[in-house]
């Protein structure tokens, strides 16, 4: 199968949007796929809206056009309103929200109360990884998402060899998201 996938990761500065983007991009690299991302750096990282475009496969532009992404990982409820328009009809959106969300109607939306889960596992800053875990549980290794939990785990293992306590914390957060 020729992989051609486009994913938007969106949230606010400080949530770790860039970190999740980087994990997914490294996973694509590890699987031998061409990868391109576009990231928000600079002033917006101070709590402003932050959005990453991730493109896996044969692309030359680093940006995703509206109505063409396969999925959206939304680390804030408002990220869906803001960046839902990037997703193609029938695409997926996983949204960090304590309330179930239904709009836009032509997307397959899953709401995850990642804040509560983060506080339950005692790591308030782990919303990004919980959300990544939730996406991996639902769309892993399919036409919707090119990688699996094992791929992400392998990336983490490779990147955090010298930081066992960090690795353990990150793994726990992704697992928590994966299991719900």
């Amino acid at each position: 199968m020729t992989i051609k996938q486009q994913i938007i990761i969106s949230g606010v500065g400080g949530q770790g949007v860039l970190f999740v983007t980087r994990l997914l991009a490294e996973a694509a690299m590890m699987k031998g796929y061409p990868v391109l991302t576009s990231e928000t750096h600079g002033m917006a990282q101070r709590g402003g809206t932050v959005v990453s475009h991730l493109k896996v496969g044969d692309f030359s532009s680093p940006l995703i056009r509206p109505f063409s992404a396969d999925g959206l990982l939304a680390l804030k409820p408002e990220s869906l309103t803001q960046h839902g328009c990037f997703v193609k009809p029938g695409g997926w959106a996983i949204v960090n929200s304590s309330q179930p969300l239904q709009e836009p109607a032509d997307l397959a939306i899953t709401s995850i109360d990642a804040e509560s889960l983060a506080s339950a596992i005692g790591n308030l800053k782990s919303v990004n990884l919980i959300m990544l875990g939730a996406a991996l549980a639902r769309f892993s290794d399919s036409k919707d998402l090119f990688c699996t939990l094992d791929d992400i785990q392998a990336v983490l293992n490779a990147q955090l060899t010298g930081a066992p306590s960090k690795l353990e914390k990150f793994t726990a957060a992704i697992d928590a998201g994966y299991r719900i």
Binding site: S61, T81, A118
Partner: protein, 608 residues
Amino acid sequence: MNNRMLMLGNQAISRGLIENGCALATSYPGTPASEILPSLVEWQQAENTRLHAQWAINEKVAFEIAYTAGIAGLRSMVSMKQVGLNVASDPLMSAAYMGTVGGFLIICADDPGPHSSQTEQDSRMMAMMAKIPVLDPDSPVQAKDMIAMGYALSEAFEIPVMIRPTTRVCHARQDVAVSPVVPDDRKPAFEKNPARWAATPKFRFRLHQSLEQKLSDIARYAPTAPIRCNPDAAGTRAIVVSGVAAAHTRDVLKDLGLWDRMPLYQVLQPFPLHREFIDHLETAYSQILVIEESTGVIEMQIADRHKVRGKASGTVPSVGEILPETIEAIVAEFTGTPLSRPMLPASPPGRRPTLCAGCPHRASFFAIKKAAPRGIYTSDIGCYTLGLNLGAVDTFICMGAAISQAAGFYQAFRSEPKRPDIVATLGDSTFFHAGIPALIDAVVQNVRFVLVILDNRTTAMTGNQPTPSSGRGIDGEPTITVEIEKLVQGCGIGFCKTGDPYDVPQFISLVKSAVAYSRETGPAVIISRRPCLLDRSRAETRHPFIRVRVAQEDCDACHYCIQHFECPALITDGKDKPVRIDPAGCTGCGVCVHVCPKKAIKILGTGQ
């Protein structure tokens, strides 16, 4: 080493530098160029090559250091953001005339959008004005390739070369091929030649003549000539692209099924545009669509204006980033291709950035507003520009202007019966960069204002690069520490006091005493010293964590703290709901205790 790596555009650029024998590199941080120099140092450490890399006090100084290494025969580079080149434009104009011996690259990152800049200026216009060639990469991979291309071009014609990546190249990540580093053992050599390196006007005239000859030859230099992307496509119309617009257009043509039908040319060197290419376009096509960011640099070099569709014809926007969906619409229109796409709903405004929870700048701004409530607040470039949200920043222009604008306001209101208090804010790095001459000027003219130097001991906005007062260099090596107090006193300031903005009552009275001094006597300076919370290298200077809570029975939901202090850790569930502390955000600075007019924010204790 794995032969492919995931790299940020800026990392790919620095990989190109290390693979091509760059021996001296300087920069001043600025988004989107900030990561070039630090990642170069990382490559250098991994490869153990000989290289001097340093942050300079500003872009002009950075430029002059790197350029002179080129005169001494070494390969060198200076990197900066587009507005940084304004600061370095003085040496740029002369460097073009005198040229270089070793390859000298000016890597100047533009920010169409703008995402994190004051302007959308097109640095390729600066290259045109200086009369030096400029290369325009479309991706991290091409940015890396253009380093080799740029050094070869620079040495072939003894001319500085500009590489102009944009935000979408600098902050894209891509899998990039890694090549081995070939050790460069060239030795510095300086051949004295006053007619060139110390050229007086008469000699400058000759240098200008030879520069024109170089440009004319570079417009025929084959390695940087435009690329025909789809040689099989034929027709009477063509599209010409450069930079990231080239990357977008390739995808768009394929998606619209036009790849085999619409001739596409990618310009690698927008200035000087190759002569033969201009002639070919004008002979072969009746209409030429040019898509480039941000100004029409390529289109203005195509002599037959009637054939060109671009900025001047209103076909391609002159303002803002050219997004792939915009290109899709332009190409569809140009080729008469029907485009069925749902209307894009109006995008809701995004969340505006704000100072971090616990940021010492927020405490400083709160104190300034208390001490000079009806003042004019001039400010500057840095995180503290976000004091805007707090109503504590009325103006900012460019690096260092807080002080000169304070002087301008003072002189404007000088003869009025009631002069406003004027409080200027700027950061430590910005003070070093461009504040010192302005402060000396204010002393000489006895400008009655207060300058608060927000000394967080780092260049925070761009990722915590060191300043001259940090006492460390780019890879953590110890350096001489320049004391801001001594500098301020050396400028001739009579009132210079240092305070901790976290100590709110004391700091407010300090600012009040400075305001009083400025009304009666002359310029006053306060150094507000508290390290940036994001600067991990200074963890040892952390303030003890003060646990606070909002007594729900005392909070009457006036939301004064949210509106006037805007700490992201102060949250509420609605308009009439009391305020709470967000435990995920609170950094334990304890400043908000002094902010609540109802005294509803209480200290619970110290320690997390």
